[in-house]
């Protein structure tokens, strides 16, 4: 899903933007993943 948009940013050598996107999305999705795991555990499904 992100292959082409990432390639477009890379082609334009916008590495700072790429870095910001990767760090921000990794952090936010990590928080969401941990929150989801905690929620599933809290309702006794895991």
């Amino acid at each position: 899903m992100t292959v082409v948009p990432t390639a477009l940013l890379t082609r334009n050598m916008r590495f700072r933007s790429l870095g910001i996107v990767e760090i921000a999305s990794t952090f936010i999705s990590g928080v969401l993943g941990v929150a989801a795991a905690a929620m599933v555990r809290a309702i006794g499904r895991w």
């Binding site: 477009l8 334009n12 910001i20 990590g30 993943g33």
Partner: protein, 203 residues
């Protein structure tokens, strides 16, 4: 699962915030050009995947459990270098591509990148070779002392590996993904032949 899906969705959202929505248009000639270039690159990536993971297919059948563990520990050194070289490749490909019409500057850029990467990797690998006899037992325990020689061999092999690691981005940048594909096939055959020979001859 939620983490993976949200990672993709958030990345896409953030990139679109930066670049804006692309224009939707279809061009048959652009698609043909892309296929001609991309199919060779995809072929090279597939072949590289096979040769890069051939040890995982071949080693369980050809190595006992203990040598497999020692090899696995030693191979982590190369994995770390591979991860770093992948990131370098992401940056150097568009840089080389911009210089593709000026071969003199391209050659200088290639040498500068290779020099810089070697300047970091070669001393680190030399230190690994020299310190492994003390470092491995100290960090992992005496039980892993037999991993010293495999670790030294992998560290020694990493240095020439790094020297040629920018050849892929270079050939792609000058519009010759077919060279990259042919080179990948040669290295895959060499890997598939040499691994069983090496493992049967002892580590």
């Amino acid at each position: 699962m939620i983490q993976m899906v949200s990672l993709e969705a958030i990345s896409l959202f953030l990139i679109l915030c930066i670049t804006g929505l692309p224009d939707l248009a279809w061009s048959a000639s652009a698609a043909r050009r892309l296929w001609s270039f991309g199919s060779r690159l995809m072929g090279a990536d597939l072949v590289n995947y096979v040769s890069g993971n051939s040890d995982k297919f071949l080693s369980p059948g050809s190595l006992e459990r203990q040598p497999l563990g020692l090899y696995s520990l030693a191979f982590r050194v190369l994995q770390l270098t591979l991860a770093a070289s992948t990131q370098v490749g992401r940056v150097v490909l568009p840089t080389f591509a911009r210089l593709q019409d000026d071969r003199e500057r391209l050659a200088r850029a290639f040498l500068a990148v290779t020099e810089s990467v070697s300047l970091v990797v070669c001393p680190a690998m030399t230190l690994t070779i020299l310190l492994a006899p003390i470092g491995v037992p100290a960090v992992f325990g005496e039980a892993w002392a037999d991993a010293v020689v495999p670790l030294q061999l992998v560290a020694a092999m990493t240095m020439p590996f790094v020297l040629i690691s920018n050849m892929g981005p270079l050939t792609v940048a000058v519009g010759r993904p077919d060279w990259e594909f042919h080179w990948s096939v040669v290295t895959m055959v060499a890997t598939l032949v040499s691994f069983p020979v090496g493992s049967s001859g002892g580590s």
